[in-house]
């Protein structure tokens, strides 16, 4: 019978005990005496969030295909269990073997958003692994970070032994081999890390040192050993059909956020929206072939029994074989009573036709993300979406029977004016008007249209043209949200427009951590010691505690947010090469100032630098 390291009395007392039992269909159990390497793969958030992440499913499958490796999963215990584990000294365990994480050779942590940083410390702490890399010995696993946040790993540099920059499919095999060899030779931990630092894509923070100017801007970022690379180039898969992708993803018992088969149709995005990090760091766009995807879809549905399949990519309409793939799925899936989810499809005739086949129109809503209200502002951010396209899309959808529309915008974008904020309300009003113009009174099913406007606050991110931008203060944000509300209220169709906005405090902290430097490790550590975890969950975010930590560590948080950055400033993340050059980003920053639109990769190459990877859209044009 399966072990459960948490006693029954506790299991019966906590929320969702099924988060901690493992044993799911397609989870992998190996004989621990027959493997050389044990890898714990962690998503530092609660099970149902972590289990929904595609990247981990891909790497879990890859590692377990290696005969000498057993990869297991670990997630953040929820706050109730966290407290009990601390009090009762229960060590964090992996879901498959239920063995302590501390016994593993590697602990890989995926970093998907900045607000999970205190949860990294939670995982280490509950596993009895020293929080700081420098205090660890061979009794501890090698702690390795991956995911988008590693494109500025500096705020959490002290907690990691290695950061793997880029896509995981390519270099792990070499790293594992190096590890096996190092252990056989009796290398010290430091010797192993030193060798690892020479592998492509591996950043070992202890071999690098930031040097600051008097004003705390970066003066220099230098390697401490002569043989480690000065610049670290991201890793990427060059042929998306010849790589790892699971046939048998794990099927959770619990209803998780992504309770479906996820088919990653391509990686990267041809569009260069200037606020968007994903659009830059995953360049160039690489597609999987429709043939490959069809085969995977059939296998994954068969092996999981899921009742839904979803296409995943940053911008699915840009996938060159989208019609062929979707038509195949509609035909194959409707026969088997399987739903199809099509997020991130642009609203056009094709998508409206498809969606009317696969969705319950009355219940579903249409989503547009114009991100900015005025055309001028959409040019600034390079969002290639015109008002005409939005209104035509809406008209098509209204004719098709939809009545619910969701609109997403950002407030606090660089060069924003009052007019741009008013533009949000005007656009929402125009959409309502389009509804009344296209749908005759007698055909209005629910009588009226429902428009939901949501705004989030813009957070500048590394490796985007807006990495030089200053971020608004909390007060500015609140003020802008109030203005948006006011403008919406003064529209003719204001009754059918609902307005939501996000928390400003969390956005500010995200802004600090996103463009932070190594000095912030102290603040994060202090915040964890003061009880901060699950900061990404609004109700657990304690702004006042974080602010107190900044004060105690004598660091000004606004240094990272509202400060104007010079064009030649050296950034903490500049030692990473994501393909897109700093010169290109600066050019784009200037284009933003001049309200100048840049073509997408399909229309015309803008020479961003990613051509050097010699793959994807750069070579298959």
């Amino acid at each position: 019978m399966q072990k459960c390291p948490i006693p029954e009395e506790i299991m019966m007392k906590i929320d969702h005990p099924e988060r901690y039992i493992g044993n799911e269909i397609n989870s992998v159990v190996k004989d621990k005496d027959k493997v050389d390497i044990r890898f714990a793969m962690c998503f530092p958030d609660v099970y149902e969030i972590g289990m929904s992440h595609l990247g981990i499913q891909i790497l879990y499958d890859m590692f377990n295909k290696f005969e000498d490796t057993w990869c297991e999963r670990v997630y953040s215990p929820w706050v109730d269990l966290h407290k009990i584990m601390k009090e009762e000294h229960i060590s964090l365990f992996t879901l498959e073997s239920k063995d302590p994480v501390k016994e593993m050779d590697f602990l890989g942590i995926t970093l998907q958003y900045e607000m999970c940083y205190t949860n990294i410390l939670q995982i280490l702490d509950l596993s009895d692994i020293p929080l700081l890399s420098k205090d660890r010995t061979w009794d501890d696993p090698i702690v390795i970070g991956g995911g988008p946040c590693t494109y500025n790993p500096e705020p959490i540099a002290d907690f990691f032994d290695i950061f793997y920059i880029g896509e995981g499919e390519t270099m792990y095999r070499m790293l594992l081999d190096l590890y096996k060899e190092s252990r056989k030779n009796g290398d010290s931990r430091k010797e192993f890390l030193h060798k690892a630092a020479k592998l492509s894509g591996m950043y070992v923070p202890q071999f690098y040192e930031p040097v600051y100017n008097d004003d705390f801007t970066l003066k220099e970022f230098k390697p401490l050993e002569s043989d480690v690379p000065v610049k670290i180039t991201k890793e990427l898969v060059t042929d998306m059909d010849k790589t790892y992708y699971p046939d048998k993803p794990v099927v959770p018992f619990m209803k998780v956020t992504q309770d479906r088969v996820v088919l990653e149709i391509m990686r990267g995005c041809i569009r260069g929206c200037r606020f968007c990090q994903a659009g830059q760091i995953y360049r160039p766009v690489r597609e999987r072939s429709a043939e490959y995807l069809k085969e995977k879809a059939v296998k994954m549905l068969k092996n999981t029994g899921h009742e839904e399949i979803s296409l995943s990519s940053l911008s699915s309409s840009d996938y060159s074989q989208i019609e062929e793939l979707v038509n195949f799925l509609v035909e194959d899936c409707t026969k088997k009573k399987i739903n199809i989810a099509l997020p991130s499809l642009r609203i056009d005739q094709f998508s409206v036709d498809v969606m009317s086949k696969v969705q319950d129109i009355r219940k579903s809503s249409l989503t547009f993300a114009p991100e900015a209200g005025s055309q001028r502002m959409r040019n600034v951010i390079n969002k290639g979406l015109t008002e005409e396209q939005i209104l035509n899309g809406a008209a098509l959808a209204f004719k098709g029977g939809w009545t619910k529309v969701k609109l997403y915008f950002m407030l606090g974008l660089p060069f924003e004016t009052e007019k741009d904020i008013e533009g949000i309300a005007l656009l929402a009003n125009e959409i309502a008007k389009t509804f009344y113009d296209t749908v005759p009174k007698e055909e209005r099913v629910n009588g009226k249209v429902q428009i939901t406007v949501s705004t989030s606050f813009f957070v500048p991110k590394p490796f985007t043209p807006f990495q030089w931008a200053r971020m608004d203060k909390r007060e500015d944000f609140i003020d802008k949200a109030e203005h948006t509300k006011h403008y919406i209220a003064s529209q003719l169709n204001q009754k059918v427009i609902k307005y939501n906005w996000h928390e400003a405090d969390v956005s500010m902290m995200e802004g600090v951590l996103a463009r932070g430097d190594r000095r912030l490790s102290r603040v994060i550590l202090n915040a964890y010691n003061k009880g901060c975890i699950f900061d990404a969950w609004g109700e657990y975010y304690h702004h006042d505690v974080w602010m107190q930590c900044f004060e105690e560590e004598n660091i000004d948080p606004f240094f990272y947010t509202t400060r104007e950055r010079a064009e030649d400033e050296l950034f903490p993340w500049d030692f990473i090469d994501c393909g897109v050059t700093k010169a290109h980003l600066l050019r784009e920053w200037h284009n933003a100032q001049n309200e100048k639109v840049t073509d997408n990769c399909k229309a015309r190459c803008s020479g961003c630098g990613a051509l050097k990877f010699d793959c994807g859209i750069c070579v298959n044009r």
Binding site: M1, M12, I21, G22, N23, I25, L301, T304, K336, N339
Partner: protein
């Protein structure tokens, strides 16, 4: 045609709730090639009915659900088809065909057997036995929306025995009068002046019963077998 499927739910899977269990079986059926019948409408769902839901934390050797499948299915293969795709802890024990006009699993449940194993410290079994036999009323305080309600659990208990290291009970499991083993224990221990919180125990549901035409309890799995 309609079939009744008997399964176990043991070990760590006792922490899976009823809704998750239903989803688990829907996915499991989709992993096989069994031709399951679906309801009509925009979001069709499998036509299935589960017997009395098992509480989280309780194991069982006798759980049931009824399922509509195509008449062309070979019923003798269903058990094996499902067992190759079960998680450790859930095993299909038997599959039988139901007559056309049978009551569904949920509606027909009348009673359940439980074995309660005190795996750590043992309570005074003789005292518990005497308390049970000598009291005509055993009250349990049930929290309802409209406040607290006293329930005489003895009325809903059909059998009680001391067995080795634990207790055996047969209780009402009908949708109207379902008595949970935890509620029974609380009432009994209170009456015997024992503190239930001092004892650790596992509960194992052993089987579910319905009534035959002679008003006798018959296992849900055997009524049409």
């Amino acid at each position: 045609m309609k079939v009744r499927i008997k399964f176990t739910k043991t070990g760590i899977l006792k922490y899976i709730g009823h809704l998750d269990l239903m989803r688990y079986f829907q996915k499991a059926l989709r992993r096989t090639d069994i031709d399951v019948m679906y309801s009509k409408g925009f979001s069709p769902h499998m036509i299935m009915s589960f017997a009395q839901p098992l509480g989280v934390g309780v194991e069982s050797l006798g759980e049931y659900f009824d399922l509509e499948i195509a008449d062309t299915e070979d019923v003798s293969l269903i058990k094996d088809k499902l067992n190759v795709t079960m998680a450790e802890g859930i095993t299909i024990e038997a599959v039988c065909v139901l007559p056309e006009k049978s009551e569904n699993a949920m509606a027909s449940v009348k009673a359940a057997d439980y074995y309660i194993d005190f795996y750590d410290k043992k309570p005074d079994f003789t005292l518990l036995n005497e308390t049970y036999l000598n009291s005509s009323e055993l009250f349990y305080e049930k929290e309802t929306k409209s406040g607290k309600k006293e329930i005489n659990v003895k009325e809903f208990t059909f059998d009680f025995k001391i067995e080795e290291s634990g207790l055996f009970i047969r209780t009402d499991a009908s949708s109207g009068g379902n008595l949970k083993p935890g509620a029974f224990l609380e009432a009994l221990f209170k009456k015997a002046n024992l503190d239930l919180n001092e004892y650790k125990y596992h509960v194992m549901r052993q089987d579910l019963y319905t009534l035959n035409e002679n008003n006798e309890f018959v296992s849900l799995g055997l009524i049409y077998a």
